[in-house]
Symmetry: D2
Subunit: 354 residues, 4 copies
């Protein structure tokens, strides 16, 4: 008889619970990880609100680290007890989408995001890692769990936003919204050689973090049209790239407006909250002819990328932990989730310890 | 006293004329070309309808070849009497936009398109070539004017549409509309290794040309929703890239819909006719996360690119002249322009000889 | 008791044989294919000469197609009896090298090339396909085995040579040697939009094939220094890219010499025959400062790429079968191998049928 | 009668002098700059030793800033008296090489490097700026001359070395030699997101600067084979990229040896001192098949790039001035040049003030 574990699940739209489930068994290419630390993601708040159709009882969560509990028969190169990181997106790496390099679209659009949508998530005491050979990443001894866990989603997504900005060194970039993903983009833009980072944010504590993470200028959209403010700050020229980290049509449109001809718009915001299509204004879009480009994407996973994120933490070049405003034990998960839903108490990112 | 020449001008919105103007003098970095052949572009039809604000009396035209008449004092490497091609877009190559590689955005959005918008166009017996060192291209002896003139705009724009599709060999591409620019994209997609070219077009004569130029499949949008037809033709998967060569919100949206996750939408249609913003439907756009990319651009100019287009004509790999459905002398220019405006008589592209 | 099959093996350096082996069993992620057609590769000639250390009794061969005989327990999406293609290189797609996109370097340098070097090759009646989910490619009904089998290595390698040339449409490229890989590069250069393809070859029958496959000019190195000939043909400017498909220091150096500043050298030749290091002459290499780039690689595998190659055969855009100068039954394999070793009878590529 | 100025010239191989020359007049597209600060470059030491054939009396120097003295008739957008920077390489931006994006190869190999080789250099009280529209860069008020002057060559070259490394964030890079160009590459690698920078250098003061500029590890080649040391430091795997900033066959070969399969070698060293060809060892080069790439280049110029470098200085992200070990007035130029030739007194970079 298999042992049981506790898992944080969605019962139905609007209702969560902590339930007992059997500790899972690994298939030949899988691994089971015992969770040691996790972060709650706003995506899960969206899921509970009904953004994605998931069956009742499905475990939530996709930002967890832990230690290898068991390895599938075909998985080599890891040992039980080893500290490991698993990306929020866990591609198979073998389908045609993966072979084309679009691993987050594994098997089809957004299909690399398997936790919660296709299988139990990892806000639980144990969780399954598909395609473990590619998705298990050893954590170096000198990187604590509470830091490493930011690689799973936040840094990977934020840095993708910067990669999709195709910045040349010294170029200018505006980042719309400084929630945890936007803040991660700010860390990434600073890391990858931006010459000027303009962060759009109104909350004082997020503005302060943005500056700490490398933003050169803050635009407060409650103090005036952010497009006008950014055009003024750039002498009417606009920025080389804009990163949408908010997920609303207005900020998406603002990104198109603040970029110069030849500029890039990089979307990392989740646009599932607002049912209206995104719009491209003809003037700012140059009637479709001003060499602007728009890129989109979903948190890349995989151990190779995760290892590079961990290396940057190891060398001290990247430290996202100032985003951890709150810490809870797993027995307080429902309280933590409520706080993440209401965004009260100036919460940015709550860490869950196991 | 300077000699005079005839020029085809816009008198005011909706009215054109052939008028006498002085033959222009070259500035130090300019050249004067005596026109030998030209094509009429639908862009000029748009201009006459009022799409772009231009002063009365401005010469129309931007697709002309000819012979060097006079060279500015600082222009070397060319000789008077030499047959030359000049791209529709004539960048300075020295401003920051040009230095960044966005030469069609010379000095700012769409600023490389100087003929008619910033200076007299070249539907005239003589015309000015700015930055002649970069914009004059010798025409090889074995490429006739009537063929070479397609490089100025049609092939350069259509091929840019393919370049912005970032096709890997053997990939699939749908091209929406087979007017002269869409047909040029079809030529380019075939030239650059597409595995399957799906051309969307309803007019039989354009369908036939599309097939002649390399389209593998034709989708007639009068026979059913083209998005559904393309999804059916691709087993529900969609295409790797879609090229918008029509200039309407519906076709732009269709491009987003028919591309698979990780696909590219490449816009070459002119979206100045319809005032509504373009729309990105959230489902087909993957909520901003399905690794789709959208690229835009404006006909690249410059002698280096023009020379590559001419080389492809020289070797026989590219022959766009089947698009020339009509030929007129310059004294019939108003008749030709009317025909291009009404699109009667199955006109695709009228050649003007001087 | 397992059934037995015949396999063509290397007994020791310089000696081959046809032997009986058990038909292999698939591991969970593997498949077994029953061979229907194969090509002999010069790489195997090198192997038999001792270029690579392989244990005695190892089956040779890496260019085979067939039908699915058995599927491993974890392999889905294929059916027994289905016609399939398997690339010469069969990566795991999950190691860090594969995740970085260098699938031919799976697990380390050249590690994606597993047949013969790490496991039995596929010049046998049955063979194993590792990571079958990524390495099995269905063959369309309208592509015969004798054509499809060219995708395994020849076309994939030759086309990679062109991809690593980073050709813009209309650019010029010189291809050194027109053996089957060089001829495949010629097909690819023509397919992907080269403006001028210069093929360097002295054998008349290979020159003829090169022209048939799209070469515009032939340089016969027995008639004078090919570098000088190419510089003459390009008005002293040189080519945009050069592809080394021969595998000797002199041709590699010639590639560096014939490219213009900013040009690319793409190596697809196997340099294991000559023990001397390759040399970069300082003048032609611009003292290390003339923006030349050198790219190398090894036949990419994977079903996504193979499917694109097959699509090009399906549409009739690519037909490599004129390279098949000889056909043998598998019972004549030793005769065929001898002929491939001596390169007598104007052999280019011998097809083996099962 | 034109006024005269002092200029530092090469009289003949091995002999320099300060002489009087007329202050130059600008052509229509040129500008004259009055020099305020300059750096001496080791390239000039090579020139005086005879590396490049230049006529006697030619002014040396290519790293100077100053104020606009006079503008050619066709140059707009600048004012006399304005503080400006001019890159060491001053391309025309209009020839086919420039149009292809290889502006440092303007007109042909290395042709963008015009100072001293094609015209008087700028180690003089006044100097000519060709194609001034593209090559004059305004210096922001808050960047002093002594800092801005590093953009001309050192930072532009060093950063190009990093750009040609095609680093993904968090990757590893080894930089061979920490002279001023190698140190600039170290600054650039740190700026652009390297995860681990290994600097190869034996001189203590350069090791210290390398660490200050972002090197994580120092390899002293006097303490053992640097290839072995780097392989040890990377657990036998090697680095993702290696930058050659020394200019010798041994270091070039070491770069090939320390990179992993799929790695990039980026050359910024000047290989004119040693007449032997560079060598690619077959094992480390994977017999030409291990997906390694080699890139070369020459200090990119142009105001757009220079402005990005200046922006990074303005924001405080880049400060190269710790490399300025010595400062001299222009009347001490010969003393400074001697010191740069002998490399005594731990000199790295001497600043010349006017």
């Amino acid at each position: 008889m298999s042992e049981s574990m506790r898992a944080f699940v969605i019962e139905e739209v609007g209702r969560t619970a902590v339930v007992d489930k059997p500790i899972p068994e690994p298939g030949p290419e899988e691994a089971i990880v015992r969770t040691t630390a996790a972060l709650i993601c706003t995506s899960d708040v969206h899921t509970v609100k009904g953004a994605l159709p998931v069956p009742g009882g499905r475990t939530l969560g996709h930002e967890s680290v832990g230690v290898v509990h068991r390895l599938g028969s075909a998985v080599t190169g890891f040992t039980e007890g080893q500290r490991v990181l698993v990306g929020a997106v866990t591609p198979c790496y073998r389908c045609t989408y993966c072979q084309r390099g679009f691993t987050s679209q594994c098997g089809g659009a957004l299909g690399g995001y398997k936790y919660t949508t296709q299988m139990d998530g990892n806000m639980a005491e144990y969780f399954v890692v598909p395609a473990a050979a590619a998705n298990l990443t050893p954590i170096p001894d000198d990187v604590p769990d509470a830091k490493a866990v930011y690689a799973c989603d936040m840094l990977s997504t934020g840095f993708m936003g910067v990669e999709h900005s195709y910045l040349q060194f010294g170029e200018t970039v505006a980042i719309f919204a400084q929630g945890p993903v936007g803040l991660s983009a700010t860390i990434g833009a600073h890391l990858m050689g931006a010459g000027q980072v303009i962060a759009v944010e109104s909350r004082p504590e997020r503005q302060a973090l943005a500056k700490q993470f490398g933003a050169d200028l803050i635009v407060d959209f409650t103090q005036g049209d952010p497009v006008e403010q950014i055009m003024d700050l750039t002498d009417g020229v606009g920025v080389d790239a804009a990163i949408e980290a908010f997920g609303f049509p207005q900020t998406f449109e603002a990104c198109v407006r603040v970029t110069k001809a030849g500029g890039r718009v990089s979307n990392i915001g989740y646009h599932g909250e607002n049912p209206n299509p995104l719009q491209l204004p003809l003037d700012a879009f140059g009637l479709g002819m001003n060499d602007k480009a728009i890129h989109t994407g979903l948190c890349p996973g995989g151990s190779e990328r995760m290892a590079r994120l961990l290396r940057l933490m190891q060398s001290g070049r990247v430290d996202p932990t100032p985003m951890t405003t709150h810490t809870f034990g797993f027995d307080e998960i429902e309280l933590a989730f409520d706080l993440m839903t209401t965004k009260q108490d100036n919460i940015i990112k709550p860490l869950i310890t196991f």
